[in-house]
């Protein structure tokens, strides 16, 4: 309860989230109102998942200062892990139904061969790769949703932080990791169906008797629950001493190291934790999206993630959520062709074409003129202003930045 009193934004956020979920539920087709279409419920559910990964990104970038351009890789991996089970289990029911009409009851081997042919026929293979050996079991794949991103993040983070790779070098390195992973998944012989990816994920095995309107609402609830819990957990994490240490690492890593803190351990912990959160978000996102393919893991996606957090306002949790929700929904609105075209006398500005330009430029503008992002508006409302030091040093010693340099 102390947490709620200390951070008034927390009850506000959770209350708004609950109200939003209730409103969408009541207006959904499943509730009979039909004011919100099933596909829009899915869009909202997906947006909540994106808010969750933005939260993770804010933890790792806004609080710890590691600009990771690889968190969408963990997101995609989570999607792949749950997608393997969804695809295997669904194919299994189909295959068993078709084999049951044969004269003999099928052996387990025959069932598996038929599943493999069904899944991998599209890439010209008919053997089940070794990485699919656990795909038949939901608990195992759910465990992998957590373990695979965690393992990749742990190995990569350990290597990178141990070598004291920091700043932009680390960003480039994480980007390289994402590119390597995406290129690996693009190959047909990596065993995850190459550029076809995993598809048909919106059909949940065991829930076929319920319509998509109900299933999408359940996933919406699950996403909202995950976001709520994630927000609560993140707030708790950054409120304590741990939060102070990681913020200190962001501001001056060397100084924290000299104070005796194991900087690498803290960074690795945050990196792995946020990778796990990203994996979970992905595992909730892709059943709603229906398909996961290597293009989702492209480095550009991770950069967009940084864009959302920056626009929303990094270094504050609700900023990340607002940024992700705002940019992804506005983006859907513009690219969906809903925005009115602007006639410019001889040339008509189609937002479908020019939205990216606007996004890119507004991103530059935010970086230059509003480093606090949309979240900064709340400070303005609350009357909070950064103290004007009249160009005095920001830190105690001579090497520290002058305020006017930092602002420049």
């Amino acid at each position: 309860m102390n947490l709620f009193r200390k951070h008034p934004s927390l009850p506000v956020f959770l209350g708004l989230l609950a109200a939003f979920v209730l409103a969408v539920t009541l207006m959904s087709e499943a509730a009979g109102a039909g004011l919100v279409s099933t596909s829009f419920v899915k869009t909202l559910g997906k947006t909540l998942c994106l808010c969750l990964i933005a939260l993770a990104m804010d933890l790792v970038w806004g609080y710890t200062g590691i600009l990771s351009l690889g968190h969408f890789a963990f997101f995609g991996l989570g999607g792949y892990m749950i997608g393997m089970w969804l695809m295997y289990a669904r194919t299994e029911t189909i295959v068993e139904a078709s084999l049951a009409s044969g004269a003999l009851p099928p052996t387990p081997q025959e069932v598996q061969d038929a599943i493999a042919t069904q899944i991998f026929g599209v890439v010209g293979a008919s053997d089940l790769p070794a990485i699919w050996s656990l795909a038949g079991s939901l608990p195992a794949q759910l465990a992998l949703v957590v373990l695979v991103p965690a393992a990749l993040a742990a190995v990569f983070g350990w290597l990178a932080f141990r070598a004291r790779v920091t700043g932009v070098y680390l960003s480039i390195l994480t980007q390289a990791m994402t590119l390597a992973l995406a290129l690996w998944l693009f190959q047909n012989d990596s065993g995850l169906r190459g550029n076809n990816g995993l598809s048909g994920l919106q059909n949940i095995p065991g829930l076929e008797q319920h319509g998509q309107d109900l299933v999408s609402l359940w996933f919406f609830w699950a996403s909202a629950l995950a976001l709520g819990l994630g927000y609560l957990g993140a707030q708790w994490l950054v409120s304590g001493k741990f939060g102070s240490v990681i913020r200190a690492i962001r501001d001056d890593e060397a100084r924290v190291r000299f104070l005796g803190y194991p900087v690498e351990g803290f960074k690795l912990f945050v990196f792995v934790l946020t990778a796990v959160v990203a994996g979970l978000a992905g595992a909730l996102y892709y059943p709603q999206a229906g398909i996961v393919n290597p293009a989702e893991l492209a480095p550009i996606a991770s950069i967009y993630l940084a864009v959302w957090v920056a626009i929303g306002g990094r270094g504050r949790l609700y900023g990340a959520v607002i940024g992700a929700a705002f940019v992804s929904l506005v983006s859907t609105w513009f690219t969906g062709g809903n925005a009115p075209d602007i006639p410019l006398g001889g040339y008509t500005l189609h937002w479908v074409d020019w939205w990216q330009v606007l996004l890119g430029l507004s991103f530059v503008a935010v970086t230059l003129y509003a480093p606090r992002g949309i979240g900064g508006l709340f400070d303005l409302l609350a009357g909070l202003r950064a103290p004007n030091r009249r160009g005095a040093p920001l830190g105690p010693d001579q090497g520290a930045l002058q305020e006017k340099e930092a602002d420049a």
Partner: protein, 682 residues
């Protein structure tokens, strides 16, 4: 004695040459007579000077003699006749054979005389085959046109080859050689050898000699000659040599109880060691020496066919969902006599033990196969070395592409420390500039010459604008520079997409850059890649000159090392930063023109190079041009080296290369060439 023989042979050669020359002169009076080789002895000592009557007579006599055979030829018996006619001297022989093969020969029904036919209105004009003189016309009904079947026509065609090989027109001789190389056969060897000494064109002579050896190694009856011909090709990289040699060492795999007598055995195979046991058994099954094993599908079919009262072979149907139960059910069917017994594992082993397995050469002579094997091994070794060289060239060319893409970044990122994610888009802008110039200037050479400085100008301006408007405000916040320039990058990409569309635009290289420098059948490199390599070298030199030898370079280095001190020395850091950034961007534009020449120009062109470019700079060591060079060499070499292990999968090569770089950074976090001391900064 030997002297005399040599003399006689030379004299005979002289006669042959003279005859060829006369034939040429007779056929085509416009063509200059083939000059007689001066090295040959004068032909007047030849025992039988060729006379005109002697030329005509044999052909006419031969035709008359064999008229019946010619009119109704049979593939089996016509061979000697064709050979005899082809051997007849005289200018009409070739014309006669050609007419025969073209179905332009006819037999006069009245007396059985043969004529070459020519259309003359509704009638045939008759031409005496032996003299070439017109012998009047005849109505079509009086003449039976000869239509030799395709087998006979083939024989005639191969007989004609010897004439074409000595044809006065070098183009036709070349065409005949091509035909010969395609449809090599034993009969062609003789005519080819006969045409060798008369060849005057050195290039054709070399081709003839090579083809002669190629035919010798396949068709010569003398094994020693074949071995000699095979060995003469040792180290020859031509694909045709390997194509000719490979059939000689081809083997067929057989199963037998004892080594087949008289066969040229390549190797004996022991099942389980040299040959898969399943494959060996399959060989026995194929030869009818053993019963086939039961496949799971066959067993399933047999079981399905004998379902009775919900059970198969005494096993209930519901139990048949595992292997053991199916095995028992099938055994039940066998014991009931309803299915054939399948070979058990023990039987399979016993059968395999009873037979021996051999690889048999199709070629019977061991000396020939050994020589062919040895020569092929030598060739393959040399091919391997050449492929290594080719790979090295590929790696060099890839490295120069990366270097070119990264050198601008080496200035903006390496020297100034500014992360410019829009660098790739500057490359793209350069490529599109080249494309736009080509829309107005159609001469490709000229358009490239215009495009290079123009691309520099365009991207220089873009770089300066970006530095003034955005980057200047972010010098103390590198991570935010990264994000802001990324925003510019997506905006520029989308603008390019809106202006030029999503489809790839061509940037055509000038004609003199088409094609490739082919060293041999294995090693070749396209001229564009050489040009890019040269361009990379030029830029390396330019960069070094600019940084070390010019006032601007001095000021850039001063500003990078200590802006405040530089400013107090009268250098304007703002101006220098602007110029440096513009320069780096301008070089990216020129790199874009070069890259656009061999890659498709799309709005995503830059994106494909940005990660590699950054890695080149980071791996090489920031702030050092030699480091960038080393980084490009390492990344290019590594990628091609990994591709060599699995040539079909370039994606995997890139994956492993990136993984390798991530590990490499562990050991040299500051790159291959790390700056030390104060210059390193932090």
């Amino acid at each position: 004695m030997t002297d005399f023989l040599t003399f006689l042979r030379a004299a005979l050669l002289g006669v042959l040459v003279l005859m060829a020359a006369q034939m040429a002169a007779a056929q085509d009076p416009a063509a200059p007579g083939t000059p007689a080789p001066t090295a040959q002895p004068a032909p007047e000592t030849a025992p039988e000077p060729p006379g005109t009557t002697a030329e005509m007579a044999p052909l006419a006599a031969l035709i008359a003699e064999n008229a019946r055979q010619i009119a109704k030829p049979s593939r089996k018996t016509i061979g000697p006749v064709i050979d005899a006619i082809a051997a007849a001297p005289g200018p009409q022989t070739q014309a006669f054979l050609e007419a025969w093969a073209d179905k332009r020969l006819g037999r006069r029904k009245a007396d059985g005389a043969l004529f070459v036919l020519e259309k003359a209105g509704p009638d045939w004009r008759l031409i005496d085959p032996a003299t070439g003189a017109t012998a009047g016309t005849a109505p079509k009904d009086d003449i039976a046109q000869l239509r030799p079947n395709s087998g006979v026509r083939g024989l005639i065609a191969s007989a004609l080859v010897r004439f074409q090989l000595s044809d006065p027109d070098p183009a036709r001789r070349g065409a005949a050689l091509d035909a010969l190389a395609r449809t090599a056969s034993a009969e062609n060897l003789g005519p080819l050898r006969a045409s060798l000494p008369g060849e005057t064109d050195p290039e054709l002579a070399a081709r003839k000699a090579r083809l002669e050896r190629m035919l010798t190694l396949r068709f010569d009856p003398d094994p020693a000659a074949r071995v000699a011909a095979i060995e003469s090709f040792s180290g020859d990289l031509g694909l045709d040599v390997r194509a000719a040699l490979n059939p000689l060492v081809a083997t067929t795999r057989i199963a037998a109880t004892a080594p087949p007598a008289g066969a040229n055995i390549a190797a004996e195979l022991v099942p389980g060691r040299d040959i898969d046991k399943a494959a060996a058994y399959a060989l026995l099954v194929e030869a009818g020496l053993a019963p086939p094993r039961l496949s799971a599908a066959d067993r399933r079919a047999a079981l399905e066919a004998h379902v009775e009262n919900g059970a198969v072979g005494g096993v209930p149907l519901a139990d048949l969902d595992d292997e053991d139960a199916r095995e028992r059910a099938y055994a039940g069917l066998v014991s009931a006599g309803l299915a054939r017994p399948a070979a058990t594992a023990a039987e399979v082993d016993a059968r395999l033990a009873a037979y021996r397995f051999f690889d048999i050469h199709a070629e019977a002579d061991p000396a020939v196969t050994d020589a062919a094997r040895a020569t092929l091994d030598h060739i393959e070794m040399k091919v391997g070395a050449m492929q290594g060289l080719d790979l090295g060239l590929d790696a060099l060319s890839l490295a120069s592409i990366y270097f070119l893409a990264a050198i601008g970044l080496a200035i903006t990122f390496g020297v100034m420390g500014v992360i410019n994610m829009a660098h790739g888009e500057f490359i793209m802008m350069g490529a599109y500039t080249g494309y736009v110039v080509q829309q107005f200037v159609t001469d490709y050479t000229l358009s490239i010459l215009i495009a290079l400085p123009l691309a520099f100008g365009v991207t220089f301006a873009a770089g300066v604008a970006m530095e003034r408007l955005v980057i200047r405000h972010l010098y103390n916040r590198p991570l935010e520079t990264l994000l802001a320039t990324f925003g510019i990058s997506i905006a520029l990409q989308q603008v390019a997409k809106n202006v030029f569309g999503t489809q790839a635009r061509p940037l055509t290289a000038p004609g003199w850059l088409d094609g490739a420098w082919v060293m041999n059948d294995v090693v070749s490199i396209s001229y564009i890649r050489i040009a890019i390599f040269v361009l990379a070298l030029i830029f390396l030199g330019f960069f070094l000159w600019l940084m070390k030898r010019t006032r601007l370079g001095l000021e850039v280095r001063a500003v990078t090392q200590n802006p405040a001190m530089a400013a107090s020395m009268g250098i304007k850091p703002d101006r220098i930063n602007m110029l440096t950034f513009g320069l780096g961007s301008g070089i990216a534009g020129i790199a874009g023109v070069a890259i656009g020449l061999f890659a498709k120009v799309t709005s995503e062109l830059g994106q494909d190079y940005i990660v590699q470019s950054f890695m080149t700079v980071v791996v090489g060591g920031v702030g050092n041009i030699w480091g960038t060079l080393a980084g490009a060499a390492m990344i290019g070499g590594l990628q091609k080296g990994i591709e060599w292990f699995n040539p079909s999968n370039t994606l995997a090569a890139q994956t492993y290369m990136i993984v390798f770089i991530i590990i490499f950074i562990q050991f040299r976090p500051r790159g291959i060439i790390a700056l030390r001391g104060r210059a390193a900064g932090d």
